[in-house]
């Protein structure tokens, strides 16, 4: 490695990425009250710089290398084994990029916020810092700190700038998430101290914990504690009830971030911690998680179909899409995991875009009822086109990005869990039903409500908001290789570890699947 490159690797780029938005938040708060017009530019500038740093990260990320890169580690407190340890692999790299990419868009989409503007933009930036911290932290206590602290700005974003039932939704969101994470905290502490028994000193360091041999029973309990927290965030089927309320009541940008990034934290946690730290429990619990995932896929899709409120429809579609992600993860195949990760990115882009579109129409008409629209395509052709494009991507139509993710997930899960894969493919069909039906009711036919006749089509700002997403949707659909190349080694590393520590064999094409669940099949 030559000197400049090493210098580049030593530069604490991850800390910078996490700190930049936080600094931005403080700057926004420090702006004088009468200079309200400066708030948005400052916030946007900081989030764009963060995006730039993330792009630099992408550029200097070494493809095809397993393990963590750009690691930073500072011992914080020896007796506890806490260290400030950051690092990224292919999976977290994509998550960081997605976060950094969506936040400037979300900020720019927040021009309708007129009350307590400084507080709003500061909250958004603190939220960004917290989320980025979650994705790059490699010390469990640091991870937990970011995980939990990020709730506070999100709580305020929903609670202060949200819709009618915002207080209820914010509280529900906060309490649900906190319930899960509280048990996770107990789990993290127990894990660190169990490790302490083996290593002679406690440690919260993720990389060190990988070397600890946990007992089988301990693995199950800890898996449960972690999975509950992540499952609430994803959300996995019976834990999803906070999601529609939070998504619907949040302001547009809040919904974009919630659906686009926050949910991914749960799935990311499942991959990062559950699969690697508790492999035995993972392998044994695959049937349970897969069933919940499939139920989530179908249930979310069915409930979305009957929604009268377009924002609620999109919210329930998230339940369905995230079900695919969970199914892909717990298929425990290379294709399934890669598909799950890609699907996380895809869902962030498409659902983020859908919430943006819903927000745009809501700003014009102040209603989200599908029945209040109809025939919009004639007055807002651009808007209708964008909506159709994003819907098709969300449904998974080739050559758009949704196709890549769903295809890989179904492929991967067909290898190990064929029955579930078949059931899950029903979700794809239902996605087409609810999204296209909603499109039909809102955009096609004659204009049924007079108030819609004078609606203006998308303005320049709105097009500028959507254009990057649309471009990325197309790019990832046609040429997903760059993303997959970066995810593949990380995924392979996780599967190798599972194979090494358990007697599970990752099924390949042409080789008989070897799952307990598969054996039980006659």
């Amino acid at each position: 490695m030559d000197a400049p490159l090493r210098a580049a690797m030593d530069f604490p780029i991850l800390s910078v990425i996490v700190l930049l938005p936080a600094v931005g938040g403080l700057m926004v708060l420090a702006l004088p009250r009468r200079r309200g017009e400066l708030v948005l530019p400052v916030a946007l500038a900081l989030s764009l710089i963060t995006l730039g740093a993330a792009c630099w990260l992408l550029a200097s990320f070494e493809t095809g290398v397993a393990g963590f890169q750009f690691e930073e580690q500072v011992i914080w407190y020896e007796p506890w084994g806490v260290s400030y340890h950051l690092g990224v692999d292919g999976i977290s790299l994509l998550m960081v990029l997605l976060t950094a990419f969506l936040f400037p868009i979300a900020l720019l989409a927040s021009t309708s916020i007129t009350t307590r503007v400084r507080g709003y933009f500061a909250s958004m930036l603190f939220l960004e810092a917290g989320i980025l911290g979650v994705f790059v932290a490699l010390d469990l206590l640091v991870f937990f700190a970011f995980w939990e602290v990020m709730l506070v700005p999100m709580y305020f974003i929903i609670g202060i700038w949200g819709g009618e039932r915002r207080i209820y939704a914010a509280l529900k969101f906060f309490l649900f998430t906190a319930l899960g994470s509280a048990l996770m905290l107990a789990g993290i502490l127990a894990l660190a101290l169990t490790a302490g028994d083996q290593l002679g000193r406690p440690t919260f360091d993720f990389v060190e914990l990988l070397g600890v041999d946990l007992g089988r029973a301990a693995q199950f309990w800890l898996f449960g504690a972690f999975a509950l927290s992540f499952g609430i965030k994803v959300p996995v089927f019976p834990l999803h009830t906070w999601l529609p309320d939070a998504h619907v009541e949040a302001p547009t940008a809040g919904s974009v971030i919630l659906a686009g990034v926050l949910l991914k934290m749960g799935a990311y946690g499942l991959i990062r911690f559950n699969l690697t730290l508790f492999p035995e429990a993972t392998v044994d619990l695959v049937p349970l998680l897969a069933v919940l995932a499939v139920i989530g896929i179908i249930y979310g899709a069915v409930v979305a179909t009957v929604q009268k409120d377009i924002k609620r429809l999109v919210a329930y579609s998230s339940v369905s899409h995230l079900g695919f992600v969970v199914l892909g993860i717990f298929a425990l195949t290379s294709q399934g995991l890669q598909g799950g990760v890609i699907q996380m990115v895809n869902h962030g882009l498409t659902t983020g875009a859908l919430f943006l579109l819903v927000g745009m129409i809501y700003e014009r008409r102040h209603t989200r009822q599908i029945a209040d629209y109809g025939g919009l395509a004639t007055v807002m052709p651009l808007f209708a086109g964008a909506f159709l494009f994003v819907s098709l991507a969300s449904i998974g139509l080739p050559p758009l990005n949704g196709f890549v993710g769903e295809f890989l997930v179904l492929l991967g899960s067909y290898l190990s869990l064929p029955g579930y894969a078949v059931a899950a493919s029903l979700g794809v069909v239902l996605a087409a039903v609810y999204l296209l039906w909603a499109y039909q009711r809102m955009f096609t036919g004659p204009i049924t409500v007079e108030a819609n006749r004078g609606l203006a089509d998308l303005g320049f700002r709105e097009v500028a908001l959507l254009a990057p997403i649309v471009a990325l949707v197309l790019f990832l659909g046609i040429f997903p290789k760059p993303a997959l190349d970066r995810v593949e080694p990380a995924v392979q590393g996780i599967l190798d570890r599972i194979e090494m520590t358990t007697d599970y064999q990752v099924p390949q094409f042409g080789i008989e699947a070897d799952l307990p669940e598969a054996e039980a099949r006659p």
Binding site: P79, E148, L171, A186
Partner: protein, 488 residues
Amino acid sequence: MNGSLTFLSVAPEIALAAAVVLLLLVEVTFKPRAWAWAVVAGAGLAAGTALSAWQWVAHRGADTGTFWNGMIAVDGFAALAGLLVFPLAGLGLMSAWRLAASQGRRGAEFIALVLLAAAGAHLMAAAADFIMLFIGLEVFSLSLYVLAGFTRERVDADEASLKYFLLGAFASAVFLYGVALVFAATGSTTFYGDGGIADYLAGTVIFRPGVLLAGLALLLVGLAFKVSAAPFHVWAPDVYQGAPGGVTGFLAAAAKVAGFAALARVLTAVLGARADDWVPAVAVLAAASVVVGTLLAIVQDDVKRLLAYSSVAHAGFILTALVAGRGGVGDMWFYLATYAVQVLGAFTVAAAVSGDRAGRSPLAHWAGLGRRAPWLAAAMTLMLLAMAGIPLTAGFAGKVAVFRAAIDAGYLWLVIVAVLATVAGLFFYLRVIVAMYLASPEEGASLPASPAVGWGARFVLAVAAAATLVFGIAPWPLLEVLRDALPL
């Protein structure tokens, strides 16, 4: 023992007592303005703090011991208690300054009582004999009884004071009975040295421990009352709510610090050999406090009452550290120190919002505070988030510390109870935040005039916020220091 230390061992108490005498004499002789009180009280507290700091630097390590025939201990534990209690008393006075100054000539008595309470609290931590511990307890408690009813203009303040006095006297009696029984079982009231209780318990197999265990139980009950651990907490809500707003902060913070200092020394150092007997009891007390405090806090509509129940829950969290015995004392101090500052800050805000003489502080007073007084609301939010245990606040570091200690001691079930209560606790902390930021004042509701915040209160809030954030982001130096704050 090193004779030159004899008087220096009680130097902080002497400094405080001298300040009280001087304050009262100056008061009746010259009838000075309020700033003179501040000078005398500040000098006394500064001297007490400095002497504690000196004790800490010079004697936290090996050459510590007991003085006055085993009555007073000089060790890191006592020194740290001084370093905590005296500045806390100073902050408490600043927080209550407007109240004290509005009391005319009685203001000097108010200040004298706070100083005496601080001296008593330090004596409780430094006592090396049950008799001395009891004297400290009484000096401390009597001062607080009077402070709780100091303004004497509302019935509920009188009620609070009387209730506090009666139940407190009862608890003192229980404590004393426990002392008597422990004396009966071990033949001593002294903690350390030859023939002391620790020595006796370590060297003797007691075949019939009934009397000792009964004494232990009564000691635990008496002190559990002082720290308002459930099920001995019933006085706390009424007293916190009834006492004048300016007083409540100091009352809540100091009672916790003093009570836990005494409890930690008695349990870990004196009765350390009987840990198998008291650890389960402490664990049950901790679980009960956490659950009862949290559940009852949820249904409160008055912020001071809510904070009172939350303090019951926090007593449970602090007790959680003590199940780890000696190993948890440092964690206990961390939680205690940060919580004391938080609760003082929170009650300071409450006093500003509802008035520093007022008892009640219904949630309606807090509606829309985020707009009316953004800084007050921000400070309160920070305090509440810290109490709820959100990361990057000292509350989170404290919770991790005590949970870690308890898991290390094998009490995972207690930690799970505690984390679940933490989540339920979020609910009521968020209720206050909802009222401040998300709700708007009801139409026609009579709000107190725009919150008045004196400079003292502002200083207190700044210190509390700074401490909460600094020790939340970097708790390690403090944790490292507190590892030395162990009893002999």
